[in-house]
């Protein structure tokens, strides 16, 4: 056993240390969506207002699908951003009222304002499962053909809108322009 073998533990360790250092800057918490580039799951549900709704009723242009609940504090934090987007007509926002009580949801919208074109009622969370939702708030970017293109987990504030969503939207629009 020559002397070089005794250096192997040290070398191995330094390689490991580099990997650990790299690992520190990964975020282990955000789960990537399995539905990217897949069509919206089929559904036939009702809105919080009691109207029936299905895939055909979704907007024909790019839109945001926001998972929210009256119990969800971060949803309140991102609310102003969603209101601004809705009021300025930048992009339609469709809501999914996730694991909530209908009356509480309606009260919440009444108290805070309603940025949603409509909110799909998902009291049991079953529709959320089909989307791969694991908590509120989450926001999906869906393109004009009903294909899910991007998911953001947690608060959608103005920073996230500018840094994550706008570039994604621009890229999609550029793609659809070159396709035409």
């Amino acid at each position: 056993m020559n002397r070089f073998n005794f250096f192997i533990p040290a070398i191995g360790f330094f390689v490991l240390a580099l990997i650990l250092w790299r690992g520190l800057y990964l975020d282990p918490k955000e789960l990537p969506s399995m539905l990217i580039d897949k069509p919206m799951p089929t559904f036939a549900l009702t809105t919080v207002d009691g109207n029936e709704i299905s895939n055909a009723d979704l907007p024909n242009s790019m839109f945001l699908l926001n998972v929210w609940g009256s119990y969800c504090l971060p949803c309140l934090i991102e609310h102003p951003t969603l209101m601004r987007l809705a009021e300025e007509g930048e992009i339609p926002v469709v809501g999914i009222n996730y694991r909530d009580k209908k009356q509480l949801a309606l009260d919440w919208l009444g108290d805070n304002g309603n940025p949603f074109a409509f909110s799909i009622l998902d009291e049991s969370g079953r529709f959320g499962i089909d989307l791969g939702v694991y908590g509120a708030p989450e926001t999906y970017l869906v393109d004009a053909d009903g294909v899910i293109r991007y998911r953001h987990v947690s608060v959608l504030d103005e920073n996230v809108w500018r840094q994550d969503f706008l570039p994604a939207i621009n890229k999609l629009q550029a793609e659809s322009n070159t396709q035409q």
């Binding site: 789960l31 399995m34 539905l35 499962i129 791969g132």
Partner: protein, 168 residues
């Protein structure tokens, strides 16, 4: 100094005994936040499948807990789905595919064997082989470099026999 030694030795023995008494004490109370679902199954086998699946599927929103150990939220919903699918006659493979399509690899506590996970599943066997090789190396190094090597190999034994015989 001697008295100090004696005390410390006994103290070290006392600690395990105290731990023993604690651990065997009756009716210990405790705190937790477990949730109780009362699902009905048609038979024992279904219940067993449910238990295995909810133990091996991970709660997507928790900090490293399985479905059976989580309270509320999507974990509750997913347990309900697993129950529904078992009772509706879906196989374990179909249930797992359902989960994978929505939540990906993350939801399985048993990582699927693929090209990327070969290192994971075959790592331990590789370690065993490397370990064996290392051990042989240690053995050989000890035999070669030992200051006082009293065991002879066959060639040296033959030499010794020759020397002894030549003396007579």
């Amino acid at each position: 100094m001697r008295i100090f030694h004696k005390f410390s030795w006994e103290f070290k023995v006392c600690r395990p005994i105290a731990a023993l008494l604690l651990i065997l004490s009756v009716s210990v109370m405790a705190t937790l936040n477990a949730q109780v679902d009362t699902f009905e199954f048609e038979n024992e086998e279904q219940q067993k499948r449910f238990r295995t699946l909810s133990n091996e599927l991970r709660c997507p929103m928790c900090q490293n807990t399985n479905l059976s150990g989580s309270t509320g939220g999507v974990a509750e919903d997913l347990r309900r789905e697993v129950h529904r699918m078992i009772v509706d006659g879906f196989s374990d493979t179909e249930i797992e595919k359902f989960m994978f399509d929505r939540y990906g690899d993350f939801i399985f506590y048993r990582p699927r064997l693929r090209a990327e996970t070969i290192l994971l599943w075959f790592g331990p066997i590789m370690f065993l082989l490397i370990g064996g090789y290392l051990a042989l190396g240690i053995w050989r190094r000890a035999s070669l470099s030992s200051v006082d090597s009293t065991s002879l190999d066959s060639e040296q034994a033959a030499q010794l026999q020759k020397l002894l015989r030549s003396k007579h």
